[in-house]
């Protein structure tokens, strides 16, 4: 074999291997998707059915039985609402820490990170009781507040690591030209960081959309986002995997597709810019 052939063979082996791993890891999702178009009988048949006439019945039943759109709307409101609020609070903080770092900046950042290490169960009881006393159990307001605070440290960190990489010379040049601090932010920093802010927002939306601890504990039906709605399918009243799959597909599809388009930004974001 020539060197060239060897190289080609290597590429093929790498490719085959990578595809195998990817297909194995993706299989449960593929299976969920396929099952959602089966009848209940086909869903539990052994050996598994691969060829069948797809039906959309399950999706209709899911909408009727558990009002998918209502819960999807809850997910949208809580994820987008808390993300927007968190950004409004976090952008100024990250901006001032990145452009005007003081002696304490690093400490403050690490302290913020450490609040993420406070396990949610440690404050489950008081939050539950506070919500009960203020009539916020099963309300979207409670979830929006909690999601905002929950993701705030990550959002500040992420924005900080982006802002830090912006060339400071541009700001100095703007200042020389007589820009006020307000101009600096609105006309220079914000346009330069549209990408940074939108990928931070994406990450926050994904984290909120998939948040389950608070959703399960603080909501019942009115404010339940999709994560909590799906949990209601876990009760063992008979097997209805096709409907379960349809509900799951509907719950995950928006965010999985969303994620496909911005996987790279998400990695940067979740690793606080430490991995680029």
């Amino acid at each position: 074999m020539t060197l060239n052939q060897q190289r080609k063979l290597k590429t093929i082996i790498t490719g085959l291997f990578a595809w195998t791993v990817a297909l194995v890891l993706f299989f449960p999702i593929f299976w969920m998707f396929i099952t959602s178009f089966k009848t209940e009988l086909q869903a539990i048949s052994i050996p598994p059915t691969l060829v069948f006439e797809p039906t959309l019945d399950n999706f209709r039943v899911v909408q009727e039985r558990s009002d998918y759109l209502h819960h999807a709307w809850n997910s949208v409101v809580t994820s987008f609402g808390s993300t927007i609020i968190a950004l409004i609070i976090a952008v100024p903080a990250a901006y001032s820490m990145a452009f005007f770092p003081g002696k304490r900046t690093k400490d403050i950042l690490l302290w913020m990170l450490s609040t993420k290490m406070l396990p949610a169960v440690g404050v489950l009881v008081p939050i539950y009781i506070l919500c009960r006393d203020y009539g916020l159990l099963d309300s979207k307001t409670a979830l929006v507040i909690i999601f905002t605070l929950m993701n705030l440290p990550i959002i500040v960190w992420m924005l900080f690591s982006y802002f830090k990489d912006l060339p400071k010379e541009i700001l100095e040049a703007a200042r020389m030209d007589g820009a006020t601090p307000w101009d600096e932010v609105v006309k220079v920093v914000l346009p330069l960081s549209v990408g940074a802010i939108s990928s931070t927002a994406l990450l926050s939306i994904v984290l909120c959309w998939n948040e389950a601890f608070w959703s399960l504990n603080l909501t019942a039906s009115d404010a339940a986002p999709l994560t909590a709605m799906i949990a209601s399918y876990s009760s063992p009243e008979g097997l209805f995997w096709a409907k379960l799959s349809a509900a799951s597909t509907l719950a995950c599809a928006p965010i999985v597709i969303f994620g496909w388009f911005c996987q790279k930004q998400l990695v940067q974001g979740l690793t606080f810019g430490a991995v680029k």
């Binding site: 299976w31 901006y95 001032s96 404050v123 876990s234």
Partner: protein, 286 residues
């Protein structure tokens, strides 16, 4: 810009996080020292450390602590080791790389409740599940995963979610590896293993630290997977601290004991965090 304005800009974030930390935490501390059961209101007398005693002597306590740590360590080891190996293997151009990446990362975006339901039913069900069908086809006895190996089942579900994250981080990090260095090493006769051991692994040190830190934050708090799939059982076999405290608070209405448990969870997380934040803090350039 003046220091006062910088402070003003930071103030909302800092104050809100402080409030978010201090108020609930001090309430937890207070509740942990009184008798407080939601079923018997009005008998909230001070009981000192009795709640802690109750929590620590609860038959679920030791299983919960060990399950929490086993879950954390197993998932960390699985995702980091497999993640490094797989990402090193697929970090070469091949057919359909883009699609493979998309497929690989997908499990990370699946919400925990769906994750648990897919695995519990369609994969691990002892009669109709895919695993059962595979064992049957091989002429083996199907395994009832959730009742025979409950903790391992949870570990599989959680690893399935976090392995893609690890792979993606490592693949992204490997793209910045110096190819000239690798080629030079190859010229000097270094084997693939040597390159992996002496060039790739050191290059990945920092991404590994970051992955470990982020996964730890989320893994200490695993809840939905257990809630949906095993319900902590059978017995306490798959109960972790988060689930045990949930159980005390919202199923047995014992706020006092649950608060004591919550403080214990905070303590455990802080012990873990103490080492992690220091390690990561050293690695981050601020």
């Amino acid at each position: 810009m003046k220091r006062s304005i910088t402070r003003l800009l930071m103030a909302p974030s800092v104050i809100m996080l402080l409030v978010w930390m201090i108020i609930p935490l001090s309430m937890t501390i207070y509740f942990s020292t009184i008798r407080y059961n939601l079923l018997y209101p009005g008998q909230n007398n001070f009981v000192g450390l009795m709640n802690f005693e109750f929590f620590i002597t609860d038959p679920g306590f030791f299983p919960a602590v060990s399950n929490t740590l086993i879950l954390l360590l197993s998932v960390l080891i699985i995702t980091v080791v497999l993640g490094v190996m797989l990402s090193a293997l697929i970090d070469k151009p091949f057919f359909g790389q883009g699609i493979v990446r998309v497929l690989l990362i997908s499990p990370f975006f699946i919400m925990p409740t769906v994750n648990a339901l897919i695995w519990k039913n369609m994969m691990m069900n002892p009669v109709y599940g895919i695993f059962a069908w595979i064992s049957q086809s091989l002429g083996l006895e199907p395994i009832d995963w959730l009742s025979s190996y409950p903790l391992m089942s949870v570990i599989i579900m959680v690893s399935w979610q976090w392995l893609p994250f690890a792979i993606l981080v490592f693949v992204t990090a490997l793209q910045s590896q110096d190819t000239e260095q690798k080629e030079a090493a190859q010229m000097d006769g270094a084997t693939g293993w040597h390159i992996f051991r002496y060039l790739t692994i050191p290059h990945l040190a920092r991404p590994i630290a970051v992955v470990v830190m982020i996964e730890t934050i989320f893994l200490l708090a695993v809840f939905a997977e257990i809630f949906v799939s095993t319900g902590g059982g059978p017995g306490y076999d798959s109960t972790n601290l988060a689930y045990l405290i949930y159980n005390q608070a919202l199923l047995q209405y014992d706020v006092g004991v649950a608060s004591a448990g919550g403080l214990f969870a905070v303590l455990l997380a802080n012990i873990v965090a103490f080492f992690l934040i220091r390690a990561v803090g050293k690695n981050l350039t601020v």
